[in-house]
């Protein structure tokens, strides 16, 4: 049996959000485990991580997003290790556990004898969105947005249940192709870019 699951890594840096009742913010990574027990992951993030982490910068990123310009945090980039096989719980597994080996919370979104086609859609969506150099906005267009978009395009639900965790911007829709970027209102398209 194969599975596709969303793992939620908590961001200790966002503990302030917990104080206002939203819980710790989480980063979503999608993990596919095939029938042989081999796992593959996808993740994404900002191209620049040394930016001053201030509310004004986060607000400016919202403006940059409206103009589709890189923000102070840069653009939304795909992890270059995406779709590289790994073994869960080993020391170099940074998708499903913290550095000490404590499991992250997760939500299984698909289970079946062969999920390879859905996984390929997820991998291709991550690569396609990464090529568009979309604005990175920590609160509104981020790695969780990419995860949500990839899940939807693969025909899977974005977890929103008691098992899911607070993941800002997971329901933001993103374009994955230039034609969608040019005409956001048009149905999904796949141009040759």
């Amino acid at each position: 049996m194969e599975t596709i699951a969303v793992y939620y890594s908590p961001l200790e840096a966002t503990r302030i959000i917990a104080y206002v009742g939203l819980g710790l913010a989480h980063h979503m990574a999608i993990i596919y485990t095939n029938s042989a027990g081999q796992s593959f992951g996808v993740s994404s993030g900002p191209s620049i991580q040394s930016t001053q982490q201030t509310p004004p910068n986060a607000l400016r990123a919202l403006v940059s997003m409206a103009n589709n310009m890189p923000s102070d945090f840069g653009t939304l980039v795909s992890d270059p290790h995406n779709n590289t096989p790994f073994v869960k719980s080993m020391m170099d597994d940074y998708y499903t556990q913290d550095y000490q080996g404590n499991k992250f919370p997760y939500s299984t979104v698909a289970e079946g004898p062969d999920l390879s086609a859905k996984w390929q859609v997820i991998v291709k969506t991550y690569a396609a969105i990464g090529r568009l150099h979309l604005t990175y906005s920590p609160t509104s267009q981020n790695s969780n947005s990419m995860a949500g978009e990839a899940l939807r395009r693969a025909g899977l639900r974005v977890p929103f249940s008691i098992t899911a965790r607070f993941a800002p911007a997971a329901f933001t829709h993103l374009p994955a192709h230039k034609c969608e970027l040019r005409q956001p209102a048009m149905p999904r398209c796949q141009d040759a870019d």
């Binding site: 993030g45 040394s50 556990q97 000490q100 609160t139 993941a167």
Partner: protein, 162 residues
């Protein structure tokens, strides 16, 4: 989401990224009256700064390249601190004195070809929306911590973000 952002603004108006770097200036005087222990501590302090400076250089180079930070092997930068054969207690001492985290036993899957795996972590940047840190992995051989010696140490630069 906007409400959360406004809450950030109100509650953390002066928030800045916290860089876990000890800002100090090393001054070694030509004075043979400096106690041996004090001189050694001063030199150790300098080693910490060299290590963190090298890691920050790597961090900034990756930002300049716009490639994002996910997981990157930076083992060559820490090898001089943790050579093979180093006693367990010496590794603990260096971590403590150099402010490089606390050694704990790894709870995940042990490397079948390895000994006993331990980990430590220290932050390079801890901001409101993302964090950048270094994970130190230690593979020790031996039955008890008192008798363990280091087989291999590796280091991973990792980033976390929303």
């Amino acid at each position: 989401m906007l409400a959360a952002l406004l809450a950030f603004t109100l509650l953390t108006a002066n928030a800045q990224p916290r860089l876990d770097l000890r800002e100090n200036t090393i001054v070694i005087l030509a004075d043979d009256t400096i106690p041996a222990k004090g001189l050694r501590a001063t030199l150790d302090e300098n080693l910490h700064d060299v290590l963190v400076d090298n890691l920050m250089d790597k961090f900034h180079a990756m930002n300049a390249a716009g490639q994002g930070i996910f997981q990157h092997d930076v083992s060559p930068l820490i090898r001089a601190y943790f050579p093979p054969g180093q006693p367990f207690a010496e590794t603990v001492r260096i971590l403590r004195e150099q402010d490089l985290g606390t050694l704990t036993k790894f709870k995940g899957m042990q490397d079948p070809a390895g000994g006993t795996m331990y980990v430590a972590k220290f932050n390079l940047m801890n901001g409101m929306f993302s964090e950048v840190y270094v994970v130190l992995n230690f593979d020790f051989e031996g039955e008890t911590e008192a008798g363990m010696t280091l087989k291999k140490a590796t280091a991973m630069l990792r980033g976390g973000n929303m």
